[in-house]
């Protein structure tokens, strides 16, 4: 099984590497933006995976860090466009701030949230993300809930041009590989052992002498920072920043991606993000097709009800395929894998 798993993951990563080449060859540029979205969400889901999958901290508010990262780009653009502050478009600065600000926010939120346990933790992370959501809705200057259309993207000078979809794609792909490599080192380091140990049995870790709180907190901060990178990319990909990316349902989507792909595995969230967006894209068409095959009437609208299939599918995954896609590849089916 291990062979199949490694092969499959390698295949997915390789396929992702050639998306722009293929899409441009067959003249279907739409796939570049669709797959860029997948890469971006794969980074966000990977960041969540660090706390959720490896650290056992069920954060129901990661959309907030995604939003903060994208607002770094949006606010930079706003001042460049309206106040003539050209330097505010500097891509390196965007990237750096999109790491620092969400990271600090996560440290702050984590510092309070990690005092709580279980459902309280789920709910307090949710509450903080809702607070940020309403905060940005009230920020009229930066568009409120209308958001900001970005007429200029993050500027990397002659290094790269994000207006070119392929270049943006490979930036996202490169950053995803980098994030995965960093996470790989991180979870296997001494630090990672403490974080994973605290998921498994926090009481024991404290008894052997670990102040687990601060390790979990740092993991939470790192996770927020990585999620901010995804936000930076998302703003440049959609050429738009908006509060709706910060809504709690979006945090739920990120959790779904992590679990769909496989929690606590390195590539699980990547598979999850790809799978999630594939379902979002093709489940409606699939349903329409099935509707036609079984000879239903008004099949044109069948696809609009795709969530009616997606919802129960999610339940089935929780009940029977707990390891997600990655777990299935390892041949693990059933409950407690």
């Amino acid at each position: 099984m291990q062979m199949i798993r490694v092969g499959f993951i390698a295949l997915v990563m390789l396929a992702l590497a050639v998306v722009p080449v293929v899409a441009n060859a067959i003249d279907e540029p739409f796939y570049v933006s669709l797959f860029t979205r997948m890469l971006v969400l794969a980074i966000a889901a990977s960041s969540l995976n660090l706390v959720l999958g490896y650290g056992g901290m069920v954060s129901f508010g990661h959309a907030a860090y995604l939003g903060l990262g994208s607002y770094v780009v949006g606010i930079g653009f706003y001042h460049a466009a309206n106040d003539g502050m050209d330097w505010a478009l500097n891509g390196w600065m965007h990237l750096a701030l999109a790491i620092i600000i969400p990271g600090l926010a996560a440290l702050l939120i984590g510092a309070i949230s990690l005092r709580t346990r279980g459902v309280y933790f789920i709910m307090i992370t949710l509450a903080f993300s809702q607070m940020l959501y309403y905060f940005f809705i009230g920020l009229e200057r930066y568009g409120g809930d209308d958001g900001l259309s970005l007429w200029y993207l993050s500027d990397f000078g002659s290094v790269m041009d994000l207006n070119d979809d392929s270049q943006l794609y490979y930036l996202a792909y490169g950053l995803l590989l980098l994030v995965l490599f960093i996470l790989y080192r991180l979870v296997n380091s001494r630090f990672g052992m403490v974080v994973r140990g605290a998921k498994s049995n926090e009481r024991r870790l404290m008894a052997v002498g670990f102040p687990t709180y601060r390790y979990r907190l740092v993991a939470f901060g790192i996770s927020g920072a990585i999620c901010g990178v995804a936000g930076f990319l998302m703003a440049n990909q959609s050429e738009f920043v908006s509060t709706s990316e910060m809504h709690w349902v979006h945090s739920g989507d990120l959790i779904v991606m992590v679990v769909l792909g496989g929690m606590g595995t390195l590539f699980g969230p990547v598979l999850g993000a790809v799978g999630f967006l594939m379902l979002e894209q093709y489940l409606p068409e699939l349903m329409e097709g099935v509707c036609h095959i079984i000879g239903g009437s008004s099949c044109g609208i069948a696809g609009e009800y795709w969530k009616m299939v997606f919802g129960p599918l999610l339940i089935l995954i929780v009940l029977f395929a707990r390891g997600g896609i990655d777990g299935l590849l390892q041949g693990k089916v059933g409950r407690n894998v």
């Binding site: 296997n188 001494r190 008894a207 390790y215």
Partner: protein, 251 residues
């Protein structure tokens, strides 16, 4: 006379129930001091207060010459106070080696080390395997903890406690749930450790207690009704009445 651990006037109440009632007790360096008592005597509550998981309502705990009453769990561990749990409490999805390595890691400075792989770090693995050997688990190092037998998990508990290089061990019923064979092996292991370490042993298995203990304190309803050598305790009429009553009646 050097005391490793001194407890003075310790009180802990849960609602109306007094679990620890003005308890005073001292453990001398190097001795094995057993605490026995019937169910509900407050033994586990006592251990909890010693490790810092439970905050006492009154009284002091002194360890290695300093007052640790208000100190957090991990700080006491750093001072050299290690514990094993009554209910097996290991990291179920880690290997035995990784379990002990984590305990070793806890006492090698901070763990904000983000890059080097822990699983191949000889500074962790070396000591970990030593401690596994001490408790007789050398050949089980690569097995996931949840796949170990109950007795082996208890041994692993002990290895983790040892890996923190403690000055003193708090053993909360190390023989709980073990068969006679496993118990005997554990007694052997503990005998080997005796002398190097101060041990506070809470245990139901009287054979083990009398085989290991230098001194015994009998706890009833949170109070120490007697402290003394195994011989003294065996012959103490109060203890016989309160605790050993039935057994001595048979004898």
């Amino acid at each position: 006379m050097s005391e490793a651990l001194t407890i003075e006037g310790l009180v802990k109440q849960f609602g109306g129930l007094t679990a620890t009632d003005h308890l005073s007790l001292s453990v001398t360096k190097g001795e094995v001091h057993a605490v026995i008592g019937p169910n509900g005597a407050g033994k586990t509550t006592l251990i909890g207060q010693l490790t810092g998981e439970i905050t006492p309502d009154a009284g002091t705990v002194r360890f290695a010459g300093r007052d640790v009453t208000g100190l957090a769990v991990h700080r006491r561990s750093m001072l050299g106070l290690a514990r094993s749990f009554q209910i097996t409490n290991v990291l179920a999805d880690f290997t035995a080696r990784a379990n002990v390595a984590l305990a070793v890691q806890a006492h090698q400075g901070h763990s904000f080390r983000f890059w080097r792989k822990a699983a191949t770090d000889q500074r962790l693995i070396g000591p970990a395997e030593e401690h596994l050997a001490t408790v007789g688990l050398a050949d089980r190092a690569g097995v996931t903890a949840s796949s170990l037998s109950h007795g082996e998990q208890r041994q692993l508990e002990l290895a983790m406690a040892l890996a923190t290089r403690p000055a003193m061990l708090l053993l909360d019923e190390p023989m709980a749930g073990m068969g006679p064979e496993d118990s005997a092996r554990m007694v052997e292991i503990l005998k080997r450790l005796k002398g190097d370490l101060t041990i506070l042993l809470v245990e139901h298995d009287m054979d083990a207690v009398f085989a290991l203990a230098d001194r015994i304190t009998v706890l009833v309803y949170g109070r120490a009704i007697a402290t003394g050598s195994p011989e003294q305790i065996r012959n103490d009429p109060d203890v016989r009445a309160a605790y050993l009553g039935e057994e001595s009646a048979d004898a």
